[in-house]
């Protein structure tokens, strides 16, 4: 279930690492009027684009791909969405995204049918974005949220994906509140990066339930998701088999490459004309070795003074792996010592991403559909952890400041 789209099977729309193409895309789509272009009555064309410029103030590490040179190609992207209303109750939606980031694939994010039997009930069938967290399915639409980038501590980039399946949505609305309940079921197969290794992963019986309640100026979202994932790691499977044959069953079982992952999420937002407070918590629990358990949250408060809003945020995540088994004796003979050492080495190499970030930023709404954001984040992690950094020098203290400027556009 934990996924990092290293190479999607669908790869037919690619801006790649190409500023020129991104620029061309932007110029081309700027010809479309600022909101919703109706090319025909039943066909709606819309889209979004973002150019994100980032700089990390430390030469010893990288964070989200940013290093101590100014770069534009980590999170910049362009997306295009087509909605075609076939009949009153049936529509087709397709969305393609072109990323500049090398770690994100371009291609079809969405391709689904929507069936609307009543005003309150809706079904979507096809390829859709997984709605794990509040902003999971709009993580690429930066205009939809106040921050320049969603906090990595709560929205880790390896976590998001599309799935193929069925989603149902039911809405209850009265003069007090609006309640939306969503349920989905499906699966996906993709290459993933777990514990810094690229591997094939298949998630089956992937399902979730999401409730979203809007009451006056409050919005509450609670959700639960689970799936059964198997990762393709032949060397680990063989080693686990060997440990099992030798009778070290605890060690063998601790190297399971198949298991279920669960995600719990809760978010509360309050907003009015003058200010907003947003907070979100999620817990990820997995019962196989390469996916750690983690508790992640952020709290953010902002003040609106048109056309600006300024915010402060704090986000934190705590990551923990299941402890290694201890049923392989040490010191009896050298062969057993080698096996014990090899077993321990697997656990020693698992990266721990526990970290925190303090962020201050401002969003400037230049006009409807166009916003400019500036953001500074102080990132802190323990010296022994990876803390989402790519460490170039082992002496790096896991403390750095990330500067981001983002231009966000929807049309």
């Amino acid at each position: 279930m934990l996924n990092y789209n290293e190479n999607s099977p669908v790869d037919d729309f690619k801006c790649g690492n190409n500023y020129f193409l991104l620029f061309t895309c932007l110029v081309f789509f700027s010809g479309i009027s600022s909101s919703y272009a109706d090319t025909e009555d039943n066909l709606k064309v819309s889209g979004f684009a973002r150019v994100v410029m980032g700089y990390l103030d430390d030469k010893n590490a990288e964070y989200l791909g940013y290093d101590n040179s100014i770069s534009l190609d980590q999170e910049s992207l362009i997306g295009l969405q087509l909605d075609y209303q076939v009949v009153d109750t049936l529509a087709v939606t397709g969305q393609v995204i072109g990323h500049t980031g090398a770690q994100r694939d371009s291609g079809i994010e969405w391709l689904y049918l929507t069936y609307h039997p009543t005003k309150a009930l809706k079904f979507k069938l096809g390829r859709q974005r997984t709605p794990f967290l509040n902003y999971s399915d709009v993580i690429d639409v930066g205009y939809a949220y106040p921050w320049a980038t969603l906090p990595q501590q709560t929205y880790p980039r390896h976590f998001f994906s599309t799935f193929d399946g069925l989603m149902a949505n039911y809405e209850i609305s009265n003069n007090e509140f609006v309640l939306n309940i969503e349920g989905y079921w499906g699966g996906f197969k993709d290459k993933v990066v777990v514990a810094e290794r690229i591997m094939e992963a298949e998630t089956t019986d992937f399902r979730g339930l999401i409730s979203n309640l809007a009451y006056q100026n409050w919005t509450f979202r609670a959700s639960y998701h689970q799936g059964r994932t198997s990762v393709d790691l032949d060397d680990v499977v063989q080693f686990s088999g060997l440990l099992g044959q030798l009778g070290f069953t605890q060690s063998a079982e601790s190297l399971a490459t198949v298991g279920s992952t669960e995600v719990y999420q809760l978010s509360v937002n309050f907003e009015n004309i003058d200010y907003f407070v947003r907070t979100e918590f999620n817990r990820i629990q997995a019962d196989f070795v390469f996916v750690p358990d983690s508790d992640n949250y952020f709290v953010s408060a902002g003040y609106n003074y048109l056309p600006f809003s300024t915010y402060i945020s704090y986000s934190q995540n705590k990551t923990q792996y299941e402890p290694a088994a201890t049923d392989i004796p040490i010191g009896i003979n050298s062969q057993l010592d080698i096996i014990a050492f090899s077993y321990q080495e697997i656990f020693n190499q698992l990266p721990i991403d526990s970290s925190e970030a303090f962020t201050i930023g401002t969003r400037w709404d230049l006009k409807a559909g166009l916003a400019l954001k500036g953001e500074i984040s102080q990132l802190n992690g323990a010296n022994s952890d990876r803390a989402f950094f790519t460490v170039n020098d082992p002496s790096f203290d896991r403390k750095a400041i990330l500067y981001l400027v983002a231009l966000e556009w929807v049309f």
């Binding site: 909101s35 919703y36 709606k44 819309s46 979004f48 997306g79 969405q81 939606t93 969305q95 969405w110 689904y112 929507t114 005003k119 309150a120 979507k124 859709q128 974005r129 709605p131 902003y135 399915d137 709009v138 639409v141 205009y143 939809a144 949220y145 106040p146 949505n169 809405e171 609305s173 003069n175 007090e176 509140f177 609006v178 939306n180 809007a214 006056q216 100026n217 907003e271 009015n272 004309i273 907003f276 609106n304 048109l306 056309p307 809003s309 969003r363 709404d365 006009k367 409807a368 559909g369 916003a371 929807v410």
Partner: protein, 138 residues
Amino acid sequence: MKYLLYFIALLGFSSWHASGANGIVVVANTQDTSITLSRQEVRNLFMGSSLSYGLKAVALPPDNQTRVMFNTKVVGLTESRIQSYWAQMRFTGRKTPPKQVANEKSVLTYLKNNQGAVGYLPANTVIPKSLTVIYTSQ
């Protein structure tokens, strides 16, 4: 002291002026003339939720002053936040924003010609008899 009195008088005048010209009415083309909505229901309707009355919202452009008043008095959100909300709804396939027309005159014309349509207008607008006021802002 004299300046303070002037200031208070100006303040008083400006608030009186505001209450006279800054009201909002929500008007519908509906056969059921007994419909009245609460502020929350109007908010829900213009934020895309389905209502049992079968009404369909029509909105003014983002820079329109009547829309700014409606955002402030009824929706209770900034235009920026409303635009962000619609970006999230549209690009998650959940809801689509209300149809948008150019100005207050176009709202009246659209309402008159479309059964079930509902729009907001300044409180001092002369409302044709064929339309029903279903909400008046305080």
